[in-house]
Symmetry: C2
DNA sequence: AATTTAATTGCAACAATGTTGCAATTAAAA
DNA sequence: TTTTAATTGCAACATTGTTGCAATTAAATT
């Protein structure tokens, strides 16, 4: 799958800076959710402040969603098509692999129904599982 | 419900220091999960390092379990009876209230069954919901 | 009750993560 | 090419989490 990052930025009227293009390219290349420290190291040519601000900006624009992996580490992952603006529709389980330490969005499965006790009113919820991922379990 | 903290510490052969007694008393008083910053401020007579080390220690001893609230903030909550050592059996939903910002353990409800795609093997999972809690919804 | 000893504390120092203000730079509109 | 508004990089800082170590203290031992 080849995605034209220039088009993506243009469509949303976002300035195509080197920093942003590099960041998005990194997200499209990796198949897992990226932590700030990892991205910071990968974007060595750019200041960590700019990288961080763009993460937040991309999240607001609906390109990325923020999540916490099973260890509570904040990570960002590419959103699904149906997300726009801050109206995220990333309704899937996140899965952290205890072997490779990567966190994946499991879009294949529907979320279960969650029931709360009387008096509690739910706006949203998240599920983070941990264990061994497909990549690690298929390696001998 | 009155819990004899001295007995609790004795039973586990843990030294009854002022710091630890204050910390546990705070946990028994509050009905929600406590963040490190909150506890640090409440334990103003003791050094933050000691408070933090005891949090980790209590977690290892099976008194407290660590969780991340819906905003990813690390919090600690009292464990259920059946937890001992690091073999935590806190199988319940956590709920963060967007009004009072507190996080509760919802022990009343069973956890749903979680299904993963082929190739993913689950060791554990957590569910964090957010919305309005019982306390806030019952106030007009 | 005094002594011993091993656990615990407080302090200092630090690492990692997240955030702000602002002047200089740059993308893209005019 | 010029203008201008967004973006960047820098410095500085706040918060959260962590380590080493000497001083202190709980409780076991005499």
């Amino acid at each position: 799958m080849i995605i034209d990052l220039n088009k993506l930025l243009e469509r949303h009227h976002i300035r195509k800076t080197e920093c942003r293009k590099e960041m998005l390219a990194y997200f499209y290349k990796k198949k897992y959710a990226i932590s700030f420290p990892e991205l910071e190291k990968a974007m060595h040519l750019h200041d960590r402040t700019s990288v961080f601000r763009n993460l937040v900006y991309f999240e607001e624009m609906g390109f990325l969603h923020k999540l916490n992996d099973s260890e509570g580490i904040a990570k960002y992952a590419l959103c699904e098509e149906k997300c726009f603006g801050h109206l995220h529709k990333d309704e899937h389980i996140h899965f952290t692999c205890t072997n490779c330490n990567n966190t994946f969005c499991l879009k294949e499965k529907k979320l279960p129904e969650i029931k709360l006790p009387k008096g509690f009113f739910m706006e949203s919820f998240s599920i983070v599982a941990k264990g061994i991922c497909l990549g690690c379990s298929s390696k001998k």
